[in-house]
Amino acid sequence: MEVKRDMSVELSGVRLDNPVIPASGCFGYGYGMAEFYDINILGSISFKGTTREARYGNPLPRVAECSSGMINAVGLQNPGIDAVIAEELPRMREVFHKPIIANISGFSIDEYVECCSKITAEEQVEIIELNVSCPNVHGGGMSFGTSPQSVAEVVREVKKVVTKPLYVKLTPNVTDIVSIARAAEEAGADGICLINTMLGMRIDVRSRRPIIANTMGGFSGAAVFPVAVRMVYQVAKACSVPVIGCGGVESATDVIEMMMAGATAVEVGAANLRNPYACKEIIEALPTEMARLGIEKLSDIIGIVK
């Protein structure tokens, strides 16, 4: 018999049928994945990180495998905000009829502001997710996300031009994630998403060279799950805005664990790349897993761990 359970959650007034969201960069703009299954079963989709100009990204190879994970250095390849609005979003709308999370990247505050002021006007975009892991070209190349001051500055400026809830996706490559999350919240962020990838590296021992052309890249996959749970827990305890948990999620049980740590919704990234049905399988397994664990309503367990 099919088990039914209430899986709905709410992010800053945006209701999702379930908390499962493919993470940015692991699902394109959705329509490619619609060849595998009806993607309308998803809670939402965070689309591919988009910048002001079109970007080719980094040289190849861009990927290296690790134990229970992978490192990527794609380098934000995307067609640019105008092409995303003119071409990608209409294609996305044909196959996906639910709220979309717009993942926006930038290399300067001006770029974030310009992209966000454009994307906020798109009807189906209901949440904007700022990727602050990019280097600040006007700030010595340091990632925006590594100092409370620069995160706060980006959030304050973007907040002035957006009409949709603004979430900030934080990099875990910092000494104190809580101070960064608090700075984002105090600057007006409506929510926090974490974690982005961890900086990693692999070497080809035969050629004695890095596997990835960019030398280093972002480590993701099941291996980072405990780090993500820990950071979600710390940030959810320290902030009052909703948290989207992300990092190494592969199963319904992982979703529940992430929510118990404090996540209101959960993004699934690298798992989609090995198993394109990952999100579908997680959503289908959730009611049974909830029943097994005695959970009536999924939102009841958010941050339940003291």
């Binding site: 699902f27 595998f36 080719y56 190849l60 990927v63 290296a64 495998e65 992978m70």
Partner: protein, 247 residues
């Protein structure tokens, strides 16, 4: 369209010291073109292994693969009856209906694999492709006999001269005065670069690159072409010679 299915290993045997032949039984309905690939889930490995389809029919898929790392090593240990999770229907594949009279098929190393089904398709069209295969040494030569059994002319080049013409596939073309009007190639980048730089024939090449998803969402395998950035796994792996930029 792509599809994930479970396949049964019906044959998995070494052809040389490093090349294996694997025959899988299962749903092949999503494979539509010679030169497409499958992405193989290997137990205990995070990413799938993209491998060219060497041949297929209504119920089997044949793969030729080199054992080059931990993933392909694990594949090589699978025995008859083992089950494998594959994504099929990946990539564009070769253009099977090009207007030509004398197609030449050029394979370097394991790059010979996708040319086999292509040769069968071209023969079915009434064309007689010429096949040129290049390897490092006689001990590495594979598929030569498979092509000969199809009844096509098949030349071999080895870098050390231990079999066939000494040198590369491009040396065979010049020394044997191979006649052609269109080429299909798959092999290492230096071979493809030399070939595209030296031949006047029009043609297409199949590229290989480290991939993550294999179905176009992660952007890990994008190459710059004359018509913009293309994903090797999605718009490729086969590109027209004229579209490629050689740096």
């Amino acid at each position: 369209m792509y599809k994930r299915n479970i396949y049964k290993v019906v044959c998995n045997k070494p052809l040389t010291h490093k090349t294996m032949l694997m025959v899988l039984e299962g749903d092949t309905s999503h494979i539509t073109q010679a030169g497409q690939f499958v992405n193989v889930a290997v137990e205990g490995k995070f990413l799938r292994r993209p491998i060219s389809v060497c041949d297929y029919d209504e119920r089997t898929i044949t793969l030729l693969y080199d054992v080059v790392g931990e993933g392909t090593k694990a594949m090589s240990l699978l025995t008859e009856g083992a089950q494998l999770d594959l994504l099929t229907g990946l990539g564009n594949g070769f253009t099977e209906d090009v207007e030509c009279q004398k197609p030449v098929l050029l394979g370097g190393g394991i790059g010979c694999a996708p040319l086999y089904n292509l040769a069968r398709k071209l023969l079915a069209r009434g064309l007689r492709p010429t096949v040129v295969l290049g390897f490092n040494s006689a001990a590495d030569v594979v598929a030569h006999d498979m092509f000969e059994q199809l009844g096509v002319e098949c030349y071999v080049a080895t870098v050390d001269g231990s079999m066939g013409t000494r040198g590369f596939v491009t040396d065979v073309i010049s020394q044997k005065a191979i006649e052609g009007d269109y080429f299909y190639a798959c092999g290492p980048m230096p071979m493809l670069r030399a070939l595209c730089g030296s031949t006047e024939w029009s043609g297409e090449v199949s590229l290989d690159e480290r991939m993550a998803c294999g179905f176009g969402v992660c952007m890990c395998c994008s190459v710059e072409t004359r018509s913009g950035a293309k994903r090797i796994c999605k718009e490729g792996p086969v590109f027209r010679k004229e579209d490629l930029i050689w740096k």
